[in-house]
Symmetry: C2
Subunit: 346 residues, 2 copies
């Protein structure tokens, strides 16, 4: 069957065969794809998470080289396992496919899924394809081994520092660039003109990649699950303003964030009207970690982060008090309301 053929022309059974042949068995996989269920070796405590990408809501076919779409479908789940302090092991992939989708595009999705899986020690153990009369849905469920300590959203204490990994606002800046017709070529490099032509090419590419190909700090997450260094963790998927509020609500504390301390992505800083502050606070999809770390644990956290090539920035502190998060900016403190992305309200 040729790459230009559609999934409708190939048929369900041919699709399943096509993928099964490509998917290698991995460590711990006793029964892989091709039976009624997979059978995998598990530790006494297993992490489970599920997240999906819906065409037209989370991605557009024309924005994303298909292999990056496959990578992202796994990455958003890797981020959740990292935020629990676990090590990802096994994934299932359930696809709802429009009849006009080409096999070439679908192969690209699997290229990306398999690349991201092998790069993070994950075996794909289950696959399901269904026809749909609507947009494509890529649904991934990920299993992981829990570390010695499971990192919860609850657990932050007054006096703990608020720390984040990586930079913030890059994915949101990348989304804006994509909306303004910036395109990442499948082979790398940008197609790029229009309003942002004055930006640095490497900043633009980094931001677009942050949106299309997020890189959660999976090694750091796994290391933190065994270290007992942090009191709470969450992955930054909705946006700092909303995700930090989750931690505060679950932990029964409040938090203050210093605007000047935020590690704002360079492209976000140039695109955003306010130096990228809103993109960093509310943009979402950073897939970095937000951590509650006691001050005494900070040097060890920095060392662990350096060992897994992640950057850690302290952006504020947790404190006693009612619910809520506040922002210190220009010498004044104001409430920081969650303004995170709401997919159902646009």
């Amino acid at each position: 069957v040729k790459a230009e053929a559609t999934v409708a022309e190939a048929g369900e059974r041919a699709l399943l065969r096509r993928f099964r042949e490509r998917i290698p068995a991995g460590p711990g996989v006793v029964v892989g794809i091709g039976d009624d269920a997979a059978a995998v070796e598990t530790t006494p405590l297993t992490l489970v998470t599920t997240d999906s990408l819906v065409e037209g809501v989370h991605f557009r076919r024309e924005w994303s080289p298909p292999h990056l779409l496959g990578r992202k479908a796994l990455a958003v789940n890797l981020s959740d396992v990292a935020a629990m302090g676990g090590r990802a092991r096994y994934a299932t992939v359930s696809l709802a496919l429009p009849a006009d989708l080409t096999l070439g595009f679908l192969d690209g999705i699997y290229d990306g899924l398999l690349e991201r899986a092998s790069g993070s020690g994950v075996a794909i153990v289950g696959g399901n394809v269904a026809a749909t009369g609507g947009p494509m849905v890529v649904d991934v469920t990920l299993l992981g081994d829990a570390g010695r300590s499971v990192l919860r959203r609850a657990g932050a204490r007054a006096g703990d520092l608020v720390a984040v990994t990586g930079t913030l606002g890059g994915a949101a800046a990348g989304l804006r660039l994509l909306r303004d017709s910036v395109r990442l070529r499948a082979g790398g490099g940008l197609d790029w003109s229009g309003p942002w032509a004055h930006l640095r090419a490497d900043d633009v590419e980094r931001a677009v990649r942050a949106h299309l190909d997020p890189a959660p700090p999976v090694a750091l997450g796994a290391a933190l699950g065994g270290a007992g260094l942090v009191h709470a963790a969450i992955d930054l998927s909705d946006g700092l303003s909303g995700d930090l509020l989750h931690v505060c609500e679950e932990s029964g504390v409040t938090a203050e964030v210093d605007a000047e301390a935020l590690p704002i992505d360079p492209a976000a800083a140039r695109i955003g009207e306010d130096g990228g502050l809103a993109l960093a606070l509310d943009g979402g999809e950073d897939y970095q970690l937000l951590l509650a770390v006691p001050e005494a644990g900070l040097p060890a956290l920095r060392a662990l982060a350096a060992a897994s090539k992640a950057a850690v920035t302290v952006i504020g502190a947790f404190a006693e008090g009612g619910r809520g998060v506040s922002l210190r900016a220009n010498g004044a403190v104001r409430p920081l309301r969650p303004a995170s992305h709401e997919h159902f309200r646009r």
Copy 2:
């Protein structure tokens, strides 16, 4: 928020809150819904399967009381775990929801999911809702404890009997009845006129329920995983003709089925032109088990089935030889080609 409100009016966060409040923690659930991932207690060998229901392909909103849709979304996965000889434990539910879906319908789906979960010892540990511009997708991933022996599709031996549980063709007959405007009321009972008005009401209701609310023999499956009685197993989801071929191909044997031995569903027998034979062979969605059992093990299998209120019928035997399945009917033997349902080719 009222039941007539749409998911778009409620918003993503309100939807997640609504479900999280409803979903109880279950045995073995260390961290349930509401964190980045769930953490669940697992045995050394865990079964994993995923299956989805797509609106317009697997179901129609007007055919199915929503709570039966929720029950079926879990049941099709329970069937896979049963066919591996396992015991289902934990499920994640990922929903792609059209903006016009009412909260009342969605609540109904969750009613069914929770009812089916609690009825089968399953805890729902992960939930994801996403907006979609297209049809609804209900995607469930199910984890189970593997039994002492994992039942594979491979393993059938020449001389083993081909046995099936329950009846065949009922779900396919039910689908035809639904297409001909037979409707199951949410509170039970049928709305029913037209071409099939001469059938027995209980036969019609049983067939429609077989399609809308399948009942895989989960207790028997779990019992078989510890018993070492059968050599191979598969769940009958595509249809006997295709599923038996899978077992033959994986096991390197052939099989002959006796048409007169098939436990054809009564409604299928009355609706089908050939006494329901085609519906029983190719209809699909029966969600019963097909087993390869050595003749010496048959009495023990029957006893186990009786203990879990399942019926077992011997319909043929496996034999040496090349691939393929044949059917004995009216004193003649002919090849039985798989004519199972193909969602992408209609």
